[in-house]
Symmetry: C2
Subunit: 235 residues, 2 copies
DNA sequence: AATTGACGAACGAACGTTCGTTCGCCAACC
DNA sequence: GGTTGGCGAACGAACGTTCGTTCGTCAATT
């Protein structure tokens, strides 16, 4: 990659990052290209040297973010094998992504509908891929059970599995709406709370569940790449 | 209330309902007053006979909706006393509201930031009221435990309680993003899945928890008033 | 019972502003 | 010296809002 292309790519990333921040605050329709120009230091028209249109910009933002998130999840999961821990890793991966890139995550959650029809399908596919990863992790916990042998095993009704998976996604995704580092503990605390709720609920004591001490709590050491660096760019 | 005022109130409600639908689809900034005029059959300028501005309209929409939701929750809870059932009732109340008024709920979740500063405080207060209702229900389950006596009782760390409550809200609030009646079962199914996850988690068996058969499953018979009827107007 | 007049409710047209986007031109770099 | 990346100016369209006006309705006055 020539330095020329590198510079271009860097500035595309900067613009996307600024756009994410503005869109997170005001919504896609609430951000104007003039706002974005001011935030990036470019002139309005210069932005069109990097993105064909405002909608293309949104599409690229969402696609990159989802791909980064999916890759990070796969990467985190590849060394963990027992069901409960895998679920924790999955949860923590996304919570961490949230905390590091709150703006982007907010855009991902809010502005799917603002995409032009052509790009919507691509994002939907990515979203389904991501959902499947989460659902597999949930299904494994379901199937394995947490108790020694007395707990129920086997398959679950698919619809119920979907509902449970969506609910767990809900816990994670909702983090953007409330999490304040100074008030609500570390990202690890949040991930543990969610994981504990998902596996054991509010009240149950689930003896065979790995204590959270045993879980890969320092997962965060491998820093997720800056949002906009595609996986190929990080190695 | 004169028929004159009644008619006016009715049309205000109609406009708000139409606005909710449009805002749910396109976001607040994505809906123009011309869109709203077309959807309601009014001329653009006539809308200003009912609302002072676009922002006032959003504020009124959110305030009415929250008040309706809070009243419905309090109403549903007043006859239920054991902790687990109260949590179920709370969950189901909101899930039902979701299913009946998906548009409004979506606006409630997405467009809080689009409010002018003056109205934001009012909505925030309502939101905090509602949060407290949910947190009390969660705290009671926490404190009471579900098992006979071997389960832990007593108070929980407040921060952990908040995290758990927010997570449960997350499950409920995320319903808007995925629930499709033809795919995912009845609203009762959804509420039961969430309640089960909240109380018992994915795998634990929690003997003393009331089976869902015993829970007020037919809560839905008392239909929540149409969104826009303020509590004072329903009696 | 007919006339009047005040008023609520609707409208189309137009306001000034801001929107996303395009164009032509200029400076800097290979 | 051509290519790239930058800009201000300008575009038509759409934005939220206001304005002057009209047209029923209905109570009070004749």
């Amino acid at each position: 990659m020539t330095p020329r292309q590198q510079r271009l790519e860097q500035q595309r990333s900067d613009i996307l990052q600024a756009a994410a921040s503005l869109i997170a605050q005001r919504g896609f329709h609430g951000m104007s290209m003039r706002d974005l120009a001011e935030a990036t230091g470019f002139g309005v028209s210069s932005l069109y040297n990097y993105f064909a249109s405002k909608e293309e910009l949104l599409a690229e933002l969402q696609i990159r973010a989802f791909e980064t998130l999916i890759d990070a999840a796969n990467d985190s999961l590849k060394d963990t094998h027992d069901a409960a821990s895998r679920l924790y890793v999955f949860i923590f991966n996304q919570v961490r992504y949230f905390v590091d890139h709150a703006d982007i995550m907010r855009v991902l959650i809010h502005e799917a509908a603002a995409l032009p029809a052509e790009h919507r399908q691509r994002v939907r596919t990515l979203k389904e891929d991501y959902f499947r990863i989460g659902r597999d992790a949930v299904a494994a916990v379901f199937a394995e059970g947490c108790g020694p042998k007395e707990s129920a095993r086997g398959t679950v009704e698919p619809v119920a599995l979907d509902r449970a998976t969506y609910s767990i996604f809900g816990m994670i995704n909702w983090v953007w709406a409330w999490y304040e580092p100074t008030l609500h503990g570390t990202p690890e605390d949040v991930a543990r709370s969610i994981h504990s709720l998902a596996v054991c609920g509010l009240v149950a004591r689930c003896p065979a569940t790995p204590t959270h001490d045993q879980l890969p709590g320092s997962l965060g050491q491998r820093q997720v790449s800056l949002l906009m660096n595609r996986p190929t760019a990080t190695k």
